[in-house]
Symmetry: C2
Subunit: 222 residues, 2 copies
DNA sequence: CACCTTTCAGTAACGATGTCACCAAACCCA
DNA sequence: TGGGTTTGGTGACATCGTTACTGAAAGGTG
């Protein structure tokens, strides 16, 4: 079986040979179809996932049905926060959804525990990932609490544009990205369009003049 | 030296004897004066702290100087999120402040790492604490994004009242609790007072009719 | 105590954001 | 083609955040 996937994770490339062996023998490469709910309320993840290909969106869903995107796990990253959350708590109301077809390495809980115990490198890998996620969450809290919506939307549009200058998303989905309401997105996009920065069509946004968005996004907490 | 402090942490009471020994020998009980900044931007924590007495407030401070309280560490709990954040990242802009005089066990980084490696019990203790904190952060994000401030303020007043029916806090401090502005707090407290639920005086709030606050707080995401 | 400074709270006006109600256009599918 | 569903647009209003200013309360100093 091909174990070269380890090279895709910089933090793991220095893994001790014995550990490396355990990891490749006791984990499995799995594939998940786009749109699948990987974990969610009442569906604990059984494995730690290391993403080889694709993208997972993690979002919080409120009782009232409103959604907010917390972060995304990309290829080369791990779903590490779930490792804490699969241990104890019920109250884990976040859910993970495959935004694309996903190929990932699944590390069972017991193996994860062994690796943590046996490998400094693996520990560093995991805790570094934790650090990144947690500081991201802090940033989200700060943005939601203190940042203007127009600035956040401009940043998000630039962030979601993956080279193509096109963003496939409904206003409702963009609202969920920022934790705001659809109507607010409609108004802001309308304003961006009036300024000639974007062109809208049903279900997608085309960036016409990214510079305008960049300038707005750069205002940040000025 | 007295090592009975371990009994104050339910998650550690089943600690393996050998590990227990390492923990007591290689950690130190420290005291911190009320108001001290335990960690913050440019001041990485060197140790994992387990709180024996007192309370630590962890808050995010934005560039513009605005603050929002993220969570509190109470006696019997650990400053566990710092363990991730002391590893890698600069961008750790949260700070921890002793709200009272604090007595705590300080576990050096290297010892923390050893304990993680050697003890299942310790690992569970740490990851369980992570889980709790992270779900708390998710809840904060949801509240900030979707909950009305009057409801959040009512909940916070009931939360901060520690038996006495009295809350020692300025409007500015209450604003930081919720990540909103002082003026908003002043307005809401004015409204609560008109309804006869509270009595205000400079620097403190007295709960006169907690039931009113309870009813409002219970509206939650109804 | 008188005086000054700092901190804290109140308020009005306005801008930004969130909510509600409703409509219209675009898409989907039978 | 027709009818339902999804998506987007909009006005009216409520809530929340910001600005600017005021004065009261506490604290320090001679």
């Amino acid at each position: 079986m091909n174990a070269d996937w380890i090279e895709q994770f910089p933090g793991l490339s220095k893994l001790e040979p014995a550990i490396r062996d355990v990891l490749t023998r006791k984990s499995a490469v799995v594939t998940v179809r786009e749109g699948s709910v990987i974990f969610g309320p009442g569906k604990s993840p059984e494995n730690l996932l290391l993403l080889l290909e694709g993208r997972v969106r993690v979002q919080q869903v409120s009782e009232a049905g409103r959604e907010i995107v917390l972060y995304r796990v990309e290829a080369g990253q791990s779903c590490v926060l779930t490792t804490a959350c699969l241990l104890a708590h019920e109250g884990y109301s976040a859910e993970g959804i495959a935004e694309t077809d996903v190929r990932a390495v699944a590390i069972p809980r017991t193996v994860f525990d062994d690796l943590i115990a046996q490998s400094v490198t693996f520990r560093t890998f995991i805790f570094t990932a934790y650090s990144k996620r947690i500081t991201d969450l802090f940033q989200i809290i700060e943005d939601i609490a203190f940042q203007r919506v127009d600035i956040r939307l401009a940043q998000k549009l630039l962030d979601l544009e993956r080279g193509t200058g096109q963003i496939k998303a409904t206003h409702q989905q963009l609202a969920a990205e920022l934790g705001t309401a659809r109507e607010v997105i409609s108004r802001q996009l309308g304003e961006f369009q009036r300024r000639g920065w974007i062109r809208q069509s049903r279900g997608s946004v085309e960036l016409v003049e990214p510079d305008g968005l960049e300038r707005l996004a750069a205002l940040d907490a000025a």
